[in-house]
């Protein structure tokens, strides 16, 4: 790895603590990723990104800042990145996915809070993540109780804008979100000092759509009978998409997809024939949370699709590129984002339709519906998911877990028992 210590120290990071994280990650990555067989060559890029996860992209962001650009840190797929890029800014994902940051988050948040929220706040407070040091503005949203209230604490640390996400999806709620995007435009314009035009927004809509199309293409490849890529690798691509430059992300995902498509034409898969096909649905898995995928794929099954924010919810549905005016573009954005089906909406039956559709498209043998601990939304909705899947005779296992290794063996037992059940 290149030496980034000077950069980190300029970012006022806690180098000593950060070293601990830097030591652990390669070890885990080696065990979880590099041990896999028949990995596509296209994964080399992503392996490289992970090996320099706190170096290469942060350095690019700092370059951007040096030339006067702003960096916006985001936590959710409902934040319209298009607005940020249209104003010449860069949007980057910030969600914390490691237990490493949880303890620092627990200094100000109750232990009984979702690990993603604790890790995100902890990464900032403990100064152990460069992305959290670089971001000029943090963009939060009101998707859930935990995040909504945690932003109040984080807001005393950093410049913060919170996007109000409606809780229902009626016509008036789509209108409300449209107004919310207009307010966000104002905030971004004021912060960057550059005006967003129909031209610039049109460009950024295409930019982000292209990223979505590339990821859609990648996921399309996973539908093949002989799966050309492991679930772990596909998950990593999506996880990195949150941080990467959107056009490079599209380019790399397209390259990878090309390779996968060749594999498909040769009927070449990464798993033995008749490997069970599993869908994982539920809450997001921020990098480096690979726990559940690792358990499934070391227990003789393949994860072929994720119905989650680090999966289909991130890139399904494109923004209409034909809107001629700024007004109409914003409308198109509102309509696209409000099609995303998170459990924070009530009712949210469209998510169940999504799960049923994906189950068919990806020909899954079973579904693991999972949620991060203390997520009242997905845990309560799991009952409705279970009910709908039972009607269609699709087996489902509900798992609640966090970032710690505590329940690893427990989960493995449950996953293996579920897989045994599917094989019968």
């Amino acid at each position: 790895m290149a030496d980034y210590r000077e950069m980190w120290s300029n970012l006022d990071m806690d180098l000593e603590k950060h070293d601990v994280l830097c030591q652990v990650l390669p070890e885990v990555f080696g065990e979880v990723y590099l041990s896999q067989q028949k990995r596509p060559r296209g994964m080399d890029f992503y392996d490289f990104v992970v090996s320099e996860i706190h170096g290469v992209r942060p350095a690019e962001l700092i370059e951007h800042q040096k030339s006067g650009g702003k960096v916006f840190g985001t936590f959710c797929v409902y934040v319209p990145d298009e607005i940020v890029f249209a104003a010449g800014g860069i949007a980057t994902g910030l969600c914390g996915g490691s237990q490493f940051w949880v303890a620092a988050g627990e200094k100000v948040l109750p232990p009984n809070t979702c690990p993603l929220i604790k890790a995100s706040v902890g990464a900032r407070l403990d100064k152990t993540c460069p992305f959290f040091r670089i971001a000029d503005m943090f963009v939060g949203e009101t998707t859930c109780d935990g995040k909504k209230k945690a932003w109040e604490i984080l807001a005393s640390e950093v410049p913060m804008h919170v996007i109000d996400i409606p809780q229902m999806k009626r016509a008036q709620d789509v209108n409300a979100f449209e107004r919310e995007i207009h307010s966000f435009i104002k905030v971004v314009e004021d912060f960057t000092g550059s005006k967003i035009s129909a031209d610039s927004l049109g460009e950024s809509i295409k930019l982000i759509n292209n990223k979505r199309k590339a990821l859609q293409r990648l996921y399309e490849a996973r539908k093949a009978a002989a799966v050309p890529i492991s679930g772990k690798d596909a998950l990593l691509v999506t996880q990195i998409a949150f941080y990467d430059d959107p056009s490079r992300c599209a380019q790399m995902a397209n390259q990878l997809s090309e390779e996968l498509e060749e594999r498909i034409s040769r009927k070449e898969g990464v798993f033995p024939e008749d490997t069970l096909r599993i869908m994982i649905s539920g809450t997001p898995m921020a990098i480096p949370n690979w726990k559940l995928h690792h358990i499934v794929e070391t227990s003789g099954a393949a994860v072929v699709v994720e119905e989650s924010c680090t999966g289909t919810r991130y890139f399904e549905n494109l923004v209409d590129e034909t809107a001629p005016t700024l007004e109409r573009q914003v409308r198109a954005l509102a309509e696209r984002y409000m099609k995303t089906n998170c459990a924070c909406f009530t009712p949210n039956s469209a998510r169940i339709d999504d799960i049923l559709r994906l189950a068919e498209e990806y020909k899954v043998d079973g579904i693991i519906d999972t949620n991060l601990q203390f997520c009242n939304l997905y845990s309560t909705e799991s009952h409705l998911v279970k009910q709908a899947l039972a009607e269609k005779n699709i087996p489902v296992l509900h798992l609640e877990t966090d970032y710690s290794e505590q329940d690893f063996e427990q989960l493995r037992t449950r996953v293996q028992a579920f897989l045994e059940m599917l094989r019968e």
Binding site: A103, E106, K107, P111, Q406, D407, F408, E409, Q410
Partner: protein, 256 residues
């Protein structure tokens, strides 16, 4: 000035009698009857010191059995008693970590030894003496042996803090031929992590004192120091600090 402090814990009952400048102390198992244990402690203290019952101005009772005890002049929580006892012995202490049989507590002291804030574990036994007790049994050891048997150089992370999960986890670790010494170091780490998280929420100010029965375990002390990144001092006769605090309060209230 003569006062008695009795700390009726879930496992042991401790008693301290203070007569002018002389201190007497006893310890006995609480057993099934906390009230009887309290009376027995008083009787033993009186025999030990030669003081008559009517010569005792005040009896202060603390500990989980405090409510069951029927002849106390005053009932005080362990939190206040530990604070009083520790700050009497070590006035420079600002943070007390008390890990007992059933619960663990972190107490923050002000400049005159008064309680400024405190935190306490919830219902769960994780991070308490009870956790170690269960683990010792699973390892075929006495709980008092854990501190001496551990080897931090062979540390094996025991990731479960939950008593039930941790028990099956160590059974698994043993089955795979891992050394006991490393597993025990891991258990101590687990307790240290849990209690340190509670302490950090409140803020840790030096000097940090460690008390309660688990303070006798030097492995837990080591783990706490690693987690809190500061030195932790084990209180002398740590099992008695609650009773000592109660006795000091007894003398004080006698004066009033």
């Amino acid at each position: 000035m003569t006062g008695i402090g009795i700390d009726i814990g879930s496992i042991a009952t401790k008693g301290v009698l203070i007569k002018d400048q002389s201190y007497y102390r006893v310890i006995l198992p609480t057993g099934w009857n906390p009230r009887a244990a309290g009376h027995e402690a008083i009787a033993k203290l009186l025999a030990l010191s030669g003081v008559e019952r009517h010569g005792v101005e005040s009896v202060v009772v603390t500990g989980y059995g405090r409510v069951a005890f029927d002849s106390a002049d005053r009932i005080v929580t362990e939190i206040k008693c530990h604070a009083r006892g520790v700050s009497h012995l070590y006035p420079e202490v600002r943070t007390i970590i008390d890990i007992g049989g059933q619960d663990s507590k972190v107490i923050q002291l002000g400049s005159s030894g008064q309680v400024v804030d405190f935190a306490m574990n919830d219902k769960c036994a994780a991070g308490t003496g009870r956790f170690l007790q269960v683990m010792a049994t699973a390892l075929g050891l006495e709980v008092s042996e854990l501190g001496n048997v551990e080897d931090p150089n062979k540390l094996l992370a025991v990731s479960s803090m939950c008593t039930v999960f941790a028990e099956s986890e160590i059974v698994g670790l043993l089955a795979r031929g891992n050394p006991k010494e490393g597993i025990i170091a891991g258990l101590h780490q687990s307790v240290g992590k849990r209690v340190a998280a509670m302490a950090r929420r409140m803020g840790v100010k030096p000097q940090v004192a460690f008390t309660g029965g688990v303070a006798l375990n030097r492995g837990v002390k080591r783990a706490l120091e690693e987690e809190l990144e500061c030195s932790v001092m084990v209180v002398e006769s740590c099992q008695y600090t609650g009773a000592l605090g109660a006795a000091l309060l007894a003398c004080q209230s006698g004066k009033q």
